[in-house]
């Protein structure tokens, strides 16, 4: 009779490089995961330092006192996710050890939930509170824009203008340009959750994706130098939200000032009109995105001018 395990032994006895060993997870621990709720895990692993009531007065005292969860002492975040992460990795330089090898993800989640309940007020926004709703006048939401699709980039500086007709317009604003037009609900402020810093959730369905969501700048000098569209303001006084910016050349001179409004047309077919009011100090060239119609010639001479880029829409699902 052969025992395959024996074949491994010469390797173990001889010099060999092995993968770093992991302490085996005991069966008793695994079965504990099914049985133990957050409270039991807390009492087993946490209470000796953090106290049975979460007040930080456990029987074990350290030079870095354990957090009082009742007082809200959560240096690495007070969300369940953040507490579970702290539980997993510990806090370097403090007596708080990592539990990643001792507790399952499920157990850490449940003990984090239990710990979270010690906390005082929970100023965590509810999902329904996070939704911005456009009613009878335009709204502007500033925030991080998520990548429209996995091939595109996130934009840390973004603006979404929502108009009462339920169309909304997504702009990156580090160099102002329209990325998409959406129809339906407006914006969910995902950055009201946890510590903040999450991208907005854009709730409308995409009906126009300008140059596949990654358009070049619209404007150059007449010599072809790209112009930086530097955000100046947004305005919600009128029926449609407005965005204004300066077109700035590389040497810093302001070549033109632009006020842009997007609106829908009605007729046999709904179209999006991107309307530009331009005050040009020098003549500039416009390079419209693909699949659009332009009202005027692409050269804008010195002076005040308007022109319109018209986008056809396609049926997008609204959320």
């Amino acid at each position: 009779m052969k025992y395959p395990l024996i074949l491994c032994i010469p390797l173990a006895l001889a010099n060999c490089s092995t993968e770093p060993e992991k302490e085996p997870v005991t069966q008793s621990m695994e079965s504990a995961s099914a049985m133990q709720g957050g409270e039991e895990i807390y009492m087993l692993y946490c209470a000796q330092c953090h106290g049975a009531t979460g007040d930080g007065n456990g029987v074990l005292k350290h030079d870095r006192p354990a957090r009082s969860f009742i007082d809200g002492g959560y240096s690495f975040g007070n969300t369940v996710h953040a507490i579970a992460k702290t539980t997993a990795f510990g806090i370097p330089g403090t007596p708080m050890p990592p539990f990643v090898d001792m507790l399952s993800a499920e157990q850490m989640e449940s003990v984090a939930t239990y710990i979270r309940n010690f906390a005082p007020t929970l100023a965590e926004a509810r999902e329904d509170e996070k939704e911005m709703v456009v009613t009878d006048s335009p709204l502007v939401a500033r925030g991080m824009l998520p990548a429209i699709n996995p091939t595109l980039k996130l934009h840390p500086r973004g603006i979404v203008i929502g108009n009462p007709d339920r169309f909304s317009y997504e702009y990156r604003v580090d160099d102002v340009r329209l990325l998409s037009v959406r129809q339906g609900r407006f914006v969910l402020r995902a950055d009201w959750g946890e510590r903040g810093g999450a991208p907005l959730e854009l709730l409308g369905g995409v009906v126009v994706l300008v140059d596949n969501g990654d358009p070049d700048g619209l404007f150059t000098t007449k010599d072809g130098e790209a112009l930086h569209a530097k955000l100046k303001s947004t305005n919600t006084m009128h029926d449609y939200g407005e965005i204004s910016y300066n077109l700035v050349a590389q040497d810093g001179r302001v070549v033109a000032q632009v006020m842009e409004t997007c609106r829908t047309t009605t007729g046999t077919r709904t179209l999006i009109e991107q309307v530009f009011d331009i005050q040009a100090n020098e003549s500039i060239l416009i390079h419209p995105p693909s699949n659009t119609d332009v009202s005027n010639a692409p050269l804008v001479p010195v002076g005040n001018h308007s022109f319109i880029i018209t986008h056809a829409i396609y049926g997008g699902d609204s959320k």
């Binding site: 009779m1 025992y3 395990l5 032994i9 010469p10 173990a12 006895l13 001889a14 010099n15 490089s17 770093p20 085996p24 997870v25 005991t26 069966q27 008793s28 030079d63 870095r64 006192p65 007082d71 809200g72 002492g73 959560y74 240096s75 975040g77 007070n78 969300t79 953040a82 990795f89 370097p92 330089g93 403090t94 005082p120 007020t121 929970l122 100023a123 926004a125 509170e129 911005m132 709204l139 502007v140 500033r142 925030g143 991080m144 840390p156 500086r157 580090d174 402020r189 950055d191 946890e194 510590r195 903040g196 810093g197 530097k230 955000l231 100046k232 303001s233 947004t234 305005n235 006084m237």
Partner: protein, 788 residues
């Protein structure tokens, strides 16, 4: 009589400060990030939810009478707000904006961009804080570093000026002022106009500091150093400090008082602390008071607790009426309740007994009081410093009691002069006053003062947070196993009959093994045994084993206890002829746990009698056992005892010889590779040395100190653990594994490897002026070198 006295005391103990809270409108949550006042006394607050509220009548007698109007929403966080000439400016995550009401209805119609000129990578943690403004209309912003997984505890500056404080001129021009910050969540101004910035405890920030910012200075968090002019723009090490000179904070706030510090404001109310400063503190939910002084041009000072249990105070302001308002937030940051809204700390005008000022003298402190004391107070205290390292904060280090030789109260009872014999620069001091009672019977409101001594009068400037050896990065710990049967299976054992061979259960006679030539197992039959040539302390033993039918083997543990492996029913045991993994944890109180194939077979067997450290012994009592891959791991202290000192590696002194290369590692150690040698100057004589080492390569390496050479290799004649007198032939440490080596000078002294006294060397001699690291087609990394 006693009743009357009691009532009097209660009255005098009462704080003249009361805290109440404005009522947030139904459904609204004001996670306050910024606060300022309009000329008409209305308060304007910006919130982390990107809203701006105007609060009418904030100082109403009944807090429910204040009315809230939402004047702007949809902003990208609002962690700062200022009002200049009744115009509102807000700090958003990516923009400083002016909020404009075009039609006079108080509702904001236009958000005008003042500037966006700083970097944002998109990381969630890149908070942008603000927005104090000076008399010239400049505004100031401070930018948090980002935290990335998996090493989320190392703050990173991956977009320009993260970790800096910047000035925004009225025309929107942005000027970076100073870097080296981590989470600079609050700002303020000194009376002379210098900018104050607070930071939050974490990596490179021992506790929460308060800095008086100088243009171009560096405040110690290396991540943002890449943005200094003339600096090569690369991401600096996570674990090593950079060479740029780091500036001292004016204050280190005691950890027990502040863990997430907010802004600083000067008291101009004309109250008892007029001219001093108040500091918002979020986690502990309180407001601190501070006073600064210059000692020979170096700013430092004192701080006290002022108002406790206010709530998660992130931003504080004095209102036009002298009320102290605290804007609160704690979502995701943690802090004392309430975690949102606006608190009001009102003063009833009756001056409490409190320490008013604390000034450093050449030999102590002068403390003044708000009221005359009836007699000199008792004073006790401690001094301590901190570590400057990448770890998350620092415990207090080198804690010592202060030797207080005299406490003298002035004739008017208003000033106590405290003489202290052992004050020194580079320390924080915490003084506690006792028996301090005013002549009117009132007792001291806050009995402790913390003072940061960067400099003693006439003395040197010394860092309170001292650079120390970097702690070990996660995943880079010394695992501490010694492989006792790898390569030469008997080298670390004395053997009494055990054979190295291949073994399988004899089907004809399952009480026996069938033996064949090979190195598959160590086989012991009845009466045969082997034991280690060394003894060990508390720890773990790991091995594989297979029993013959009805057999029994005793394992003697280093604590003197014996555990019997028998072919009988036991959790995890599968039967004769099957290989099992065993892990035994033991200490000086007994066997904590025996795991067989990862299952807890036995737990908590107490010891009957204490024992001297013993060797590990396998002895077959009945039948046969095949075993192998025996490992031992000692419980090691991660902290080196204070009697050891860190060996500072002097880069300049490194000399190399041959085709050899060296570099400093992220953990502050030295990596040497190639073929040749590197020498490092060793200034002090030493009697012991301890270091971590990691070896890798086909060849070998050695470290020579004085006449003693310690070898590293995983093949050949002198394997890791060998010294002049003893060649090791067992492969105790694998390649790429950290191990801890300890050598002590003397005759017949133990050579320690991973905490085990491996053998006694004839002579260890550690004198000489240098440490020589030799490599021959190999690489060796040394770190955490301690000597005594």
């Amino acid at each position: 009589m006693s009743i009357a006295l009691c009532i009097t005391t209660i009255v005098l103990l009462q704080s003249p400060y009361t805290t109440d809270y404005l009522t947030e409108p139904d459904g609204a949550v004001l996670e306050v990030g910024g606060m300022a006042f309009m000329a008409d006394g209305d308060m304007v607050v910006s919130t982390r939810r990107g809203q701006v509220w105007r609060i009418d009548n904030p100082n109403s007698a009944d807090p429910t009478d204040a009315t809230f109007t939402l004047i702007c929403e949809g902003l990208h966080e609002g962690l700062g707000l200022t009002i200049i000439d009744d115009e509102i400016f807000v700090m958003q995550r990516g923009e400083v904006s002016k909020l404009v009401d075009l039609d006079g209805d108080d509702i904001i119609d236009e958000v005008q961009t003042v500037t966006q000129d700083w970097g944002l990578s998109g990381n969630y943690h890149e908070f942008g804080f603000g927005l104090p403004s000076d008399s010239e209309g400049n505004m100031y912003i401070s930018l948090n570093v980002g935290f990335w997984n998996p090493h989320w505890w190392h703050g990173k500056s991956r977009a320009p000026y993260r970790g800096w404080v910047l000035r925004v001129a009225p025309d929107g021009t942005v000027t970076p002022i100073a870097g080296g910050l981590r989470s600079p969540a609050g700002m303020g101004f000194l009376e002379d106009g210098r900018l104050l910035v607070t930071d939050n405890q974490g990596d490179w920030m021992a506790v929460c500091p308060v800095y008086a910012i100088e243009e171009g200075a560096y405040y110690g968090h290396p991540a943002s150093s890449r943005w200094y002019e003339g600096q090569v723009n690369i991401e600096p090490s996570d674990t090593l400090p950079i060479k740029r000179k780091r500036e001292h904070p004016a204050l280190w706030l005691p950890y027990q008082w502040s863990r997430s510090t907010g802004n600083v404001i000067q008291d101009k109310t004309g109250g008892p602390f007029d001219g001093q400063y108040f500091i918002a503190e979020l986690t502990n939910g309180q407001v601190l008071r501070a006073e600064f002084e210059e000692i020979d041009g170096v700013l430092q000072g004192a701080c006290w607790q002022a108002h406790q249990r206010v709530g998660s105070a992130y931003h504080i302001e004095f209102g036009p009426d002298g009320t102290l308002y605290a804007g609160m937030t704690n979502r995701g940051w943690g802090g004392l309740a309430p975690g949102s809204g606006v608190a009001r700390v009102k003063f009833n005008g009756e001056t409490p007994l409190d320490m008013k000022t604390t000034h450093l003298l050449e030999d102590g402190f002068e403390i003044t009081f708000t009221k005359a004391l009836s007699k000199a107070p008792t004073v006790s205290g401690q001094k301590y410093d901190y570590n400057y390292w990448w770890e998350y904060g620092s415990p207090q280090q080198h804690i010592e009691d202060l030797t207080i030789s005299n406490v003298l109260l002035s004739e008017d009872g208003l000033t106590a002069t405290i003489t202290i014999e052992n004050l020194e620069a580079g320390k924080c001091v915490m003084l506690t006053l006792g028996n301090a009672t005013a002549t009117d019977g009132s007792v001291l409101l806050n009995d402790q003062v913390s003072y940061t001594i960067n400099k003693m009068p006439g003395g040197e400037l010394v860092y309170v947070a001292k650079e120390v050896a970097p702690p070990i990065e996660r995943g880079e710990q010394v695992e501490g196993w010694l492989y006792l049967t790898w390569l030469d299976a008997f080298d670390m054992w004395s053997n009494d009959g055990v054979a190295l061979c291949n073994a399988e259960l004899d089907i004809e006679d399952p009480t026996q093994f069938k033996i064949s030539e090979g190195t598959g197992a160590l086989v012991a039959t009845e009466g045969e045994s082997m034991e280690t040539t060394f003894t060990a302390n508390a720890g773990k033993i790991k091995f594989v084993y297979m029993l013959s039918q009805d057999s029994e083997t005793n394992i003697q543990l280093p604590n003197g206890m014996t555990f019997t492996l028998a072919d009988t029913e036991l959790d995890g045991y599968l039967g004769a002829g099957i290989w099992h993994n065993a892990l035994i944890s033991y200490n000086n109180e007994g066997i904590q746990k025996v795991e067989i194939n990862g299952v807890n077979a036995v737990t908590n067997i107490p010891m009957e009698a204490t024992s001297e450290p013993m060797p590990i012994r396998f002895k077959s009592i009945k039948g046969a056992i095949a075993f192998g891959d025996v490992r031992v791991q000692q419980i090691q202290q991660t902290d080196v005892p204070t009697s050891w000192s860190t060996f500072k590696l002097d880069d300049q002194s490194i000399k190399q010889n041959g085709d050899v290369h060296w570099s400093k590692s992220d953990s502050g150690g030295l990596i040497v590779w190639g073929t040749g040698s590197v020498t490092v100057k060793k200034m002090s004589s030493l009697t012991s040395i301890q270091f971590d080492a990691k070896f890798n390569g086909e060849g070998n390496a050695s470290i020579t100190i004085g006449d003693t050479t310690f070898d590293f290799a995983t093949q050949g004649e002198r394997l890791t653990g060998s010294t002049n007198d003893r060649a090791i032939h067992a492969n105790l440490i694998d390649q790429n594994e950290w191990c801890t080596v300890e050598l002590t000078e003397g005759s017949l002294v133990p050579v320690r490897l991973n905490g085990v006294n491996l053998y006694k060397a004839g002579t260890i001699e550690l004198q000489g002026n240098e440490i020589k690291i030799q490599v021959d087609n190999a690489k060796v990394e040394i770190r955490r070198v301690f000597i005594q």
